[in-house]
Symmetry: C2
């Protein structure tokens, strides 16, 4: 199976590319490397020292004998994208190639526009590229659980059956995204749904929760294969960020009361979910939505778990409740379904003390690389 | 009341600008004139000979003594938009300034991307401009009834209360738009809703039906004030297009069976609806949605009405059922609410024989300007 991983130099993308390669897929990576550029613009850096993509791929080849094709360029440039698709001829495309940070999109007008244009145009181009040359190719697109917001009813997987005034229909689940980034994913979902309907494309939207963890079997094989781990206020996500804060003796930064419930998954489940989606493709004309997470936690719960794991390792861990830089409910109902991927065979890695220990130890190993100036949130929604 | 009409050189925008000026508003027009440029690129032209915007405004001043400020530029250029807002200091912004043709957006990838980037970025810029300098300014945004698609349940005005698994919430109405243009309006709606929530802006989304008619009290005052009337396969909409076809002896072009039900309104109601929205602004932080139409017809019904009016004027009118260039249901349930504007005092102009007669006579008057090559649809959805 030939799989093109767009955004294959990123956190989820790199782990996915190696995993699929290891499982026997013929993998290509398409990446513009703009995320590394944004890091340098923001003065941020991954906790872990990641190698250049060319070295990463070379090392993977040296270790395993497996080849990953590399295409460096931007999918908003259609001529590059089209040429790449024709050269690689994918049977499935895994699309991680978007600006994926909510705070980044809320920095200012320019970053909001950049995020929406980059994400929407990139995805439109992929849809046209598939339609043009590979109409049977299965698009596996990374969405986000944040597309749903926090409705006061159960969250279904992409669609909801509504009875209203004595009639009934199954319609796209209403969306209430919470940042210009999350909005861009909602725009994508609508665009992809339409393309499936009119052109008969096949697509799976993976509405992913917050991913944590750093090691997969493949990225742990060698220091040159190490994955990125973000802890800064723009790209760092809960749990990973909390562990790094605990490791360096910085208080854990909970936004507001921390009663926000979010969905989470281990990066080892991310790569497996993508594999399951590829192995069980959507039908012709089908726009399929999977909610890709394994557990729900409040932010305060997570902070408490990290604190307790830290204490058992002898760390002195404090929890700080910062004024919430985001506009979001801090107390709300949240119950989301996630049976589609479980039904396909996903066996979750649940968050455990041992995982927290290993994440904390990982953070301790690289703690001399932390820039404390990067930790606190500097972007506000208001 | 100072009202900035963005897209004030267009079909709805021009009629609205003059109407509001006549009713005592201080009106500014912001327009890039790109629609005239697209017409020339497509080789299309309005049936009616419209004057340059500068002459239009001058003539309006000469006839009425009223001044309309003119700002020529593109709202996707934020520095221009911001400068204009500061110069004019609007209390309300009426935003017609988008690419508004579904077939135009479906021509090819470039037109799909152009439509979405133009519309989404323009609206994002307006939101940031309001937030920056005029946070109390009321945004009246033109949406479309096409955002809803054709669900098998009643269409409410923007929101729907859903009971699900024993819980209840009022959520954004699910959207199933039918072209990359209609999708751009859905993206806008989500973006505006979010901006109202986080920044406390006030906005009204007017989900407008298909507009017909050419004369308003103001545009009928003088030949130099005449409004545009599109009949071509890209920008011409049902009814207006049908009348022009009947006037020149071209068969009326119904797509497919013509069982598609759509919502319609007279352009004299468009201008009144905008006035009502402005006079009754949304609350701080409120994203309000009005379904702006007065009647529902199937496309086949409309064709029959035009045929019968034509025959009474001695015209020989045929109806052709073309292969549908769009992907849409030709038989479906459609029942949409429109009470919000009626409750504010809208008194509809219903489609009547006299209106059809006057539209047909108008079309006959200018029929020597018709280019028959422009009539048939040349853009397909597949």
């Amino acid at each position: 199976m030939k799989v093109l991983v767009i955004g294959g130099d990123g956190y989820c993308g790199w782990a996915t590319a190696l995993y699929l390669s290891n499982r026997g897929c013929q993998v290509g990576i398409l990446d513009s490397l703009v995320r590394r550029y944004w890091d340098s613009q923001l003065g941020a850096d991954t906790l872990t020292p990641i190698a250049p993509i060319q070295q990463r791929i070379q090392r993977w080849h040296d270790l395993t004998g497996k080849t990953i094709d590399l295409y460096i360029g931007d999918i908003t440039d259609y001529s590059f994208l089209s040429k790449t698709l024709r050269a690689f001829a994918p049977e499935a495309i895994v699309h991680f190639g978007e600006q994926r940070s909510a705070p980044f999109s809320m920095i200012d007008r320019e970053h909001a526009v950049l995020t929406q244009v980059n994400n929407v145009v990139g995805t439109l181009n992929i849809l046209y590229g598939i339609r043009e040359d590979f109409p049977d190719c299965h698009l596996v697109k990374l969405g986000t659980m944040g597309e749903y917001g926090t409705p006061n009813i159960d969250i279904e997987e992409g669609y909801i059956t509504i009875e209203h005034n004595g009639r009934k229909d199954t319609l796209p689940y209403p969306k209430q995204p919470g940042s210009f980034y999350h909005l861009s994913k909602v725009h994508d979902s609508h665009n992809i749904h339409f393309a499936c309907k009119i052109w008969g494309l096949r697509a799976t939207d993976l509405n992913q929760g917050v991913v944590y963890g750093v090691l997969t079997e493949e990225t742990g094989m060698d220091e040159l294969l190490i994955n990125r781990l973000d802890y800064d206020g723009v790209f760092g996500t809960a749990l990973n960020r909390f562990c790094i804060q605990a490791a360096i003796g910085h208080p854990i930064t909970v936004y507001g009361k921390g009663g926000q419930t979010r969905s989470f998954l281990d990066i080892r489940d991310t790569v497996r979910c993508v594999e399951l989606a590829i192995a069980n493709p959507a039908e012709v004309g089908q726009f399929r939505v999977f909610n890709q997470f394994t557990e729900l936690f409040t932010v305060q719960d997570l902070a408490m778990k990290v604190k307790s794991a830290g204490i058992s390792l002898g760390l002195d861990v404090e929890i700080d409740h910062l004024q919430n830089p985001r506009v979001e409910l801090e107390e709300h109902y949240f119950h989301a379904k996630n049976t589609n991927l479980l039904d396909l065979g996903l066996q979750p890695h649940y968050l455990s003390d041992s995982l927290l220990d290993s994440l904390l130890n990982f953070a301790i190993k690289y703690k001399n690389r932390v820039d404390p100036q990067q930790i606190l949130p500097r972007v506000t929604w208001k």
